[in-house]
Symmetry: D2
Subunit: 474 residues, 4 copies
């Protein structure tokens, strides 16, 4: 029977994300940690002869999972097997001094998360840049804003895009704060008392404290957590996964809206280059990628639920029944969020808008959306307020009814109003109002501009993001 693969990783995630969570990726990060500890220990006087660290660094990238497995079958101990492998490659035995298994696993998993978070942040900035470009491109394209899914007021398509971009931006700011304040457990021993490092340093508490500071510096992490038990607090995992959920809410809303717009034919997620609809149904541009983004968001909610089930359930120094849960939920959350952004970036690259259909929709709704202005103008020209109001309401309600029941096939509200002497407005005057009405998008364009400026700041901070091109999706 064929092996069952991780569908989120193998079908949707990018190579860069898989690298972090693969067997090889884990070994690399583990070796980074060992090296950081060695450097810090050497600085503080532990005997690590010159050249040793360099020897380990030189072979860090030589990863042979089969060899490690073979060792594990003999030693019956996974950590020992990986220690032996690395030491044999380097020709020294200086790693893992005063460290327990948890010192390794906890910190390694945290480092995997930090690197995965940084990758996600970068892709999210890419999406932000694309949204900003689209928003700017359509800053002037008037569209009928909808609330409760029905026509409400004019806005611009650019503003609509900027609105979802703004939510993504809030999510990025939140994620960024999580990353920049992330703390690792550090080298604390089996129950968190640092007893083994203290023994190594002959009871010198100051040196043990300096050791931790030095290690996190080498790892590029903000800090380590002072008082922990066997494990770091699982609410930290929740903080991470919930930040991914927050982050992807803007893209999810954007995609839901695009699915609705596709139903009205005002926009579409488009086809990949070369892709066509079936010959039988060439009209059928299914929003499959948008649905997938929404699906990933649902998936993230589920993984978040898993890690939420661990937070606040620590017994004593560390019985948290979390091992199997974290083994599933942590990598899979990151594969899901990575797949989400790969898909979302593809949508942003391929999406189409149909201004002709948008304009038809505008024409259909604008007479209704302009009745307030029409009344003001009628009063200005001398109509009685009450009469004008009565006239407009009467005609508007009748027009809606006639349109819906097929008595008329286009919105003829203006004709009706022009024909009603209570208002005293000519067709020309009414059409002039509508024409102005199309400009009644308020600060929409200004908001797009401000959004674009905010995005530029992030783009400058992460210059690699702008150039990123998603892989091709299924």
């Amino acid at each position: 029977m064929s092996k069952i693969s991780n569908v989120l990783a193998e079908r949707y995630a990018s190579g860069a994300m898989k690298d972090i969570w693969s067997g090889e990726g884990r070994v690399i990060i583990e070796r980074d940690l060992w090296i950081a500890v060695m450097k810090a220990q050497k600085e503080l006087g532990i005997d690590v002869p010159d050249g040793v660290i360099e020897a380990y660094e030189a072979v860090k990238g030589q990863i042979d999972l089969a060899s490690i497995d073979a060792r594990e079958r003999i030693t019956k101990h996974d950590v020992k097997a990986r220690i032996e492998e690395f030491c044999d490659l380097a020709g020294h035995e200086h790693i893992h001094k005063g460290m327990t298994s948890r010192d390794l696993t906890e910190n390694v998993e945290q480092l995997q998360m930090v690197r995965a978070l940084q990758l996600v942040r970068s892709k999210a900035v890419t999406a932000l840049v694309r949204l900003s470009e689209k928003a700017t491109e359509y800053a002037d394209q008037i569209i009928t804003a909808r609330t409760h899914n029905v026509a409400a007021q004019p806005t611009t398509l650019g503003k609509r895009i900027a609105m979802f971009g703004q939510e993504l931006l809030l999510g990025i700011e939140h994620l960024d704060r999580v990353i920049e304040n992330y703390a690792v457990r550090g080298i604390k021993g089996a129950v968190g008392t640092q007893i083994d490092q203290l023994t190594l340093f002959s009871g010198n508490t100051d040196k043990v404290a300096q050791l931790e500071n030095s290690i996190v510096k080498y790892l590029g992490i903000a800090s380590s957590i002072n008082a922990v038990g066997q494990v770091y607090p699982r609410s930290l995992d929740f903080e991470v996964v919930s930040a991914l959920y927050t982050l992807t809410s803007g893209p999810s809303s954007f995609c839901k809206t695009l699915r609705i717009m596709a139903g009205n034919e005002t926009a579409s997620e488009g086809f990949a280059k070369g892709q066509v609809g079936s010959s039988a149904m060439p009209h059928k541009m299914n929003s499959r990628s948008c649905e997938r983004v929404n699906g990933f968001h649902v998936i993230l909610n589920g993984y978040m639920n898993m890690v939420a089930g661990l937070a606040g359930d620590q017994w004593n120094e560390g019985d948290v029944s979390c091992s199997v849960v974290r083994r599933v939920a942590l990598p899979d959350s990151f594969f899901a969020v990575d797949g989400l952004f790969e898909t979302f970036l593809t949508i942003l690259d391929q999406m189409e808008t149909f201004p002709a259909v948008i304009e038809r929709e505008n024409s259909h709704y604008f007479p209704f959306l302009s009745t307030t202005t029409i009344m003001m103008e009628a009063v200005k020209k001398g109509a009685g307020r009450e009469l004008a109001h009565e006239s407009i309401k009467e005609h508007a309600v009748a027009t809606v009814r006639d349109l819906r029941h097929g008595k008329v096939t286009r919105n003829d509200l203006l004709d009706r109003l022009a024909a009603d002497s209570r208002l005293g407005l000519t067709m020309e005057e009414l059409e002039a109002i509508i024409a102005r009405g199309q400009e009644l998008v308020g600060s929409a364009k200004a908001q797009v501009k401000i959004f674009a400026d905010q995005v530029n700041g992030w783009s400058a901070r992460f210059p690699e993001a702008k150039a990123y091109v998603p892989g091709s999706i299924l």
Copy 2:
């Protein structure tokens, strides 16, 4: 039939939290918003005669819900009724200029949340201070650390408390960042284009931008969100409620551990002053308050699930089907978190520890926990490493087996080891090792000290927190 009350509010939450979410509390915040808008509009040239703002401020606190209800029965419009009431009280008509209903409701709900968040932060700091005091009090009390709920290594009770306190501290730092970066929707009109304020300011985009800045300054909020639709992004609600969940994970773990300790009689949540167990069962000190804290944590997870169901589901400019959900989940989340901290603070005030039982437990486990040291000493005194290892393992396994099967009633491992010539250690030597073993708590005390220093920083920033005393709980 009697009215059905909100059980979280009426049974568990404090008066201060109910004040924020009550009918009256909402009216006060709404009036704060109107006044802030008026001030900002006046600054920017809108006609608000001198003395008007003062007149509104003077009557701000006069809240008569019955009168507002009576007005609503006539106007059939809740916002109008509240405008009229406030204006009649003040004797002016200058509020709500260029504002729509959403401008009111969105910002008012956000302000309620900010004030509720600040209240929660303050109580969380109180809990932090109490944990720090307890940790310091028990910094030297050696206790058997447990992983997987079984004895693992020595630590101190103070360190155990500091460990949960440290998780709370991480949660407070996270919550604090959420509060300090919180942005309100601002006065953006029905679909977010600011069309009404623009009209009020004759199309002056700059003034409209300044208006927002000025309003948030008056409200004491970080900023407003640039591009929004009818509503602010619902992922912001999720960010808030998930921060409450993170925050309460430390207290939840603490309480779970205290429930387990109560089962071992090493500690207890205690009784309220004057409270006693039933006469039939005086031994029965139920951890009801700890269970309640864990229950609130489960409740918060449920409300978080509700707001997660809204994030990423915005259609167009604002169809998010969220009204009924937010009406339930937002206030009830805050009532739950408030009830949690009231209960948690009560536990911290009343909890008891039983050092005699803790010491009995230590005596029972320390011979096992000291076997590594015993072997080292035996080798030092000339025993063969392999023989010593074999001896210790043999006796340790036998002792465990005999204890569990009732062959012995106290841990007699030391007797067995003293009698085994393979080790060559006398009973005196073994007892000396155990005595030292009791000091093998590593950096436990140093970590308590560092934790206490960190807490002092927060206590200094929120000086009111230290003095807070929870209300009496049911």
Copy 3:
């Protein structure tokens, strides 16, 4: 400050549902339980003089919560206070024999749930009947079926409604099985050993077993659970709330679809009689009630999450930290599901469909949906298969493109095909195909008929359901 009321109960739930969960409702059910136990005990020989049960039954409905509260302030014990009140009213002291507090509270809460479930089942059947009526009414109304929210094939509006009705029907069948197999905890004492009833019956195990059977018979419940601890398994609460979630998924999907249809103006949830849109926006029929139904579904998910957090977390004979959670999640789940059905029934009564708009949509899409048939006919008339295919695809793609980019304003695919000699079909022939195409709805009508027959079975079983009329909603 005004009391904070339960918004789900007071704003959305029906009187019948509030009755079950109110203070008074709970007292009534508690008294029902006491009476059932007395009857069973009397049957089995416990001394309950003739006339005593009748005396209790006579005063069962006299509920004075204030009096009970007054007693509780004296006794400091809520159960005692309620026992005294009932006994004083009846003039006897024969209730609660051999019962502990948990015997009361567990069974009472379960009985509240059963009665609430029965109420929900009845309303769900009402909704089913209304869906069946609507489905039958529109069984022949052809509509463009959509998958991925874009046009796919013809179906009928009645079939679409029946489809959601069928999901509701599956949910009712599931709920019905939960109700019909529901088991109560029974009178099992403080830790489930029935020690108190055994003492009462002088150790007669058979009689104690008979007692339980007799009690559940009097209560109208399927059975009691044999081996329990202090509490019944909390997975039973999860089974109940998850059944409510399943049940409401059909209505939720219906409402989501109606919101989308409202955006296309093919249908609307309508207005309450007398209600009108604002005069400024008479076109704006917001799907507020549909959104509310979707909101209630999200709320139910949250409460389900809470009870899921209790299931599988029982410690020993009953430490489940569930008290506060169940106090919130159980009644509130039922208020939410009740509010959902009240709202949904209102929608079904008021919804409107717009056949003229539906037909316009059909006309727009049917040429595309008929291309398979057109090709078959062309080949039948002698066209080459490849040429025909090529011709159709070419024109279909071009038509879509021209429609979307405003080059044409109506679907002119037939004109293009008629003009293409490769196909050899005249306009008359093409129009004849389209006309037939409108009948290509397969078994849609037959399925509506089968659905209606299934519904009739349920309607016959619950005859009160058909006549139920929802209360007026906010």
Copy 4:
């Protein structure tokens, strides 16, 4: 880089479960479906020459995923590739008549679920049998029942086990009803109108109806769903996964209790044969498998959350954005529940109890648990009720206090009572009461017997279950 495998499948699930969800397993079930459809079509007159079905059946098991992949690279269509492969193997082209892709995928996934559900039911019955055996084995072992995690009343260990078994039994009954009432979508075409089968049967609606009945009969399924769209209702997936959650709540509670018992050393999950604790910590029998069971329960909650996110979110005939979610959540739910039962069965096989420790605990608590009886006896012997009550309470409280504060090291309540003239009971009389007290376990044994009888019914229905032996776990 190495491929990332599905950790739930490859690390925890059994071969039988992987078979169902593997690439090969899916192909087998797909071929079963094709054959069932062919048989039904042949019966109803569609031309399927004799021998054809046999030819397909003969090659059904020849699965070559590489060959299918190779075909897909050419056809660019996965379903076509699998059709071709099967037809080439059989030497005929009679499958998939009048079927669309969704006819295949929806039903195949449902069949995978049914078979997986049946496998789970069988393993759950195995667990039930083991629990019944354990409960019977320990039916007479008195143990201190705990509520709120502190001593409450005597019960028996067998009863405690039966209690969790009873919860599992409720879960099995629920699961069984889900399986026995499960309905598949059936062959309904692209939007559910059966248009293609109707065309195949020349519009004969009756035959199309018979076809479905016949297919489900061949597949061994209860029924098919009458009115569906492109997809079957996703609330059905939720019904399935939530039934798995209900099912596993009993095992989860059992394991949580065993973790707590391990902390008190009254029981342990044991070691696998040959496994030993580390030599340094031979006392340390970590409840890793129990924690894993609890972890799987948390995982199931997360997947349930995912499928809950799909239910009630169907747009029109089938836009449910569910594809990626179901691809993850459905198989992974089953891998998790399978891993849970494999682990749970291992625990039940290896767990140990320590009667000597249990008895020590009983001795410690029984004097307290017997105070009610002591008072009754004192009064019977002539003591004043009030005085007796006062005496007992006084001594009990003092004893608890002295035990906890180290003034006494064993429960000497009886000595104190014997010395108090207010009671008038001798030490012999008191000890006689305690001795009887140990029998005060009420119906505990009778309940174990009833439970065992109930289990026998299930064991008889699924005879293979009793003999099942779990695979060895990591």
